[in-house]
Symmetry: C2
Subunit: 323 residues, 2 copies
Amino acid sequence: MTLDMRRTIDPDTYFDHNLPPTNLQWAHDEVDKFVKTQSPDQRIVLVTSGGTTVPLENNTVRFVDNFSAGTRGSSSAEQFLAMGYAVIFLYREQSLQPFNRNYSHNTRGILSYLERINGQIRVKPEWEEKMGRDLDSYQKYTQEGKLLMVNFTTLSDYLFLLREVSLLVASLGPRVMFYLAAAVSDFFIPSHSMSEHKIQSASGDLTLHMNQVPKFLRPLVKNWVPLCFIVSFKLETDPELLGPKARHALEKYGHQVVVANMLNTRKCQVWLFTKEEAQNPAIIQISKEDVDAGKDIEQDIVEELARRHQQYIANAQQQDLSA
Amino acid sequence: MTLDMRRTIDPDTYFDHNLPPTNLQWAHDEVDKFVKTQSPDQRIVLVTSGGTTVPLENNTVRFVDNFSAGTRGSSSAEQFLAMGYAVIFLYREQSLQPFNRNYSHNTRGILSYLERINGQIRVKPEWEEKMGRDLDSYQKYTQEGKLLMVNFTTLSDYLFLLREVSLLVASLGPRVMFYLAAAVSDFFIPSHSMSEHKIQSASGDLTLHMNQVPKFLRPLVKNWVPLCFIVSFKLETDPELLGPKARHALEKYGHQVVVANMLNTRKCQVWLFTKEEAQNPAIIQISKEDVDAGKDIEQDIVEELARRHQQYIANAQQQDLSA
C-alpha cells in the first residue's frame, strides 16, 4: 500500500519514509547528557516553540509555513526556568529564543543596540539595564546546565526530534512535563510525490494536493511517554470550534491539559481544558493594560501548570506507595 | 500535484482587489524625502531582498513562503553603498539586513555576543573588531542618508511597495537601477477565494488551487520606470531550464540584465544575460576557497553591474545630446 492511498498516515510509517534531520545525533547526545546531569527530583520540561515548514519541492524553493514567531514558547521557557525547571527548548530556527526574544524580532538589527565609546563597542545606555538583566539570566541558566536549546525547521525535523527527546526522558516519568506550544503543520506532501525541481509557473495555475499529517500526540501519550505530564495547545480563529476541538483532543488522546486560545486574543486569554474541567475550563486572563505594560500571560499560564504538575507528581508518588 | 491551464490576472486588476500594506504611506513619504535629499547626479539603486509570503487563510495561520534568507540582497546592498550608490532596501521582515546580516541568521542570539565587564554590557573582545567595522559602516551610511530600509511580508505588501517606489523614482531616469533580488511568489490565492478561518484538518486531505501571480516586470519596464536600468534575477534548480528562461525573460520584458543562478551554486557562480549576450552570457564566479574565506560573490556582481549602469547612463546622455 502506498502512502497516498490512505487518508491518514500511520505515525510509525512516517519515520520509515522520511529522512531524519542532520542534528538528530547531536540532539540525542546533548539531551542525554543534559538529563543525566540533573538531580533526581529535578522537574524537567520540554517546551516546543515556533512553526514547522512543509517543503513543496525536493529541491526546496517553496514551502508552506505555519504562523508562529515563538512568543508563547520562548516566554514560557523563561517562566519555567524562573520556577526552577530544567528546560529543553525545541524551537524553530530563527524563531524567538528565551531572553534574546526582546531584541531579535523587530525591524531593528543588532547594531542599532550598540555604540562605540572610547573604541569599545557597548550596548547603548538606554538598553543597558534591561539587556544586562536578560544577559545575566541567560548566562546563569546556561552555565548551570538548566537550559538546552535544540533547533528544527521542517515538520520532519520536528517529529524526529520530538520522538528522540521523548524516548530519552520517558523513564523519568511524572516529573517531566511536555509543553507542546509549537505550531505543527496539519498537512504535508509526502517526499515521493513532491516535485523534484522548482515548480514552473509558465503553464498557468497550480493545484496542490496535501496529505493530513499523522496525529503524533497519540503515540506520544500512549507509547513514548505514558507517565509524563502532557500539555498540548489548540489555536483557532473561529470561536465556535475552540471548545469542541479542545474537548475532542482530550478524549482522543487522554493526556492531561489542552491550553486553548484564539489567534486574536492569545496574549490576553487562554482556557485550560482537563478531563475534570471539560465543560468548565479554567480561564487565565490578563488585561490589555497589563499586556501593554509588558506583562506576559505566560507567567500565569506556567505558574498554574507548574502547580498542577506538582499535584500530578504527588499523586503518582501516592499511587507508587499504595501499590 | 497537477498544473492546470488557466488565464493569468492582469497586473492592474491586482491592485484593485488587494489591500495595501499598513506602511505604504510611511514608505511613500520616506522614499520621497530620501530621493529629494540626494544630489542631482547621485546614482540610486532599489535593492529588493528576501522571499514573499502568500497567505492561505484570511485570518492567517498558514502561508506559502519562498526560500530566501536575503543573503544576496543584503550583501549586494553593502557593495552598492561601498560603490557610492544611495540604496533603497526593500526587504522581507526578519530577512538579512546590510551590516547586521553577520549576526542575525545563525542559531546564536544577540546575547551570545555580549558580556558584562565592570557593570558595562560590552561586545566580547573576539567580536569587537568585526562588529565595530560593521557598526561604523551602518552608522555612516544611515547618518549620511544613503541607506533607507523599507520592509514587507506578503506578496501583496511587496507589489504595492514596489509600484510606489517605482513611481517616485521614475522621473530620475537612467541613474536609477532596479536590482530585483527578492524571491517573489509565482502563485497566490486571491483574497476572495481564501478560507475565512483556519483550514480544518479533520476532513482528511487538502487541495489548494492557486492562481499564477501576474508578471509585474512587464508594467514595471514598460510603464512605471521605462528609463531606469533594470536587473532581474532567475533562480532555478534544473540546469536545462536556466538559459532558456533567462533569454525568455529578456525577450518578453525587454529590460537590461537577467542575473541567472542555480540554487546549489548561487554563492559561487552567476551568469549575466543581456540582449547582446543572450547566447554568450558573461560568467561571474569565485572559487569555493574564496567563499569559505568569507568573500561574497556580490562584490563582483555589483562591480560589474555598476560598470554597465555607468555605460547605460553615458549612452542615455549621449542620446539626449544628439536629440
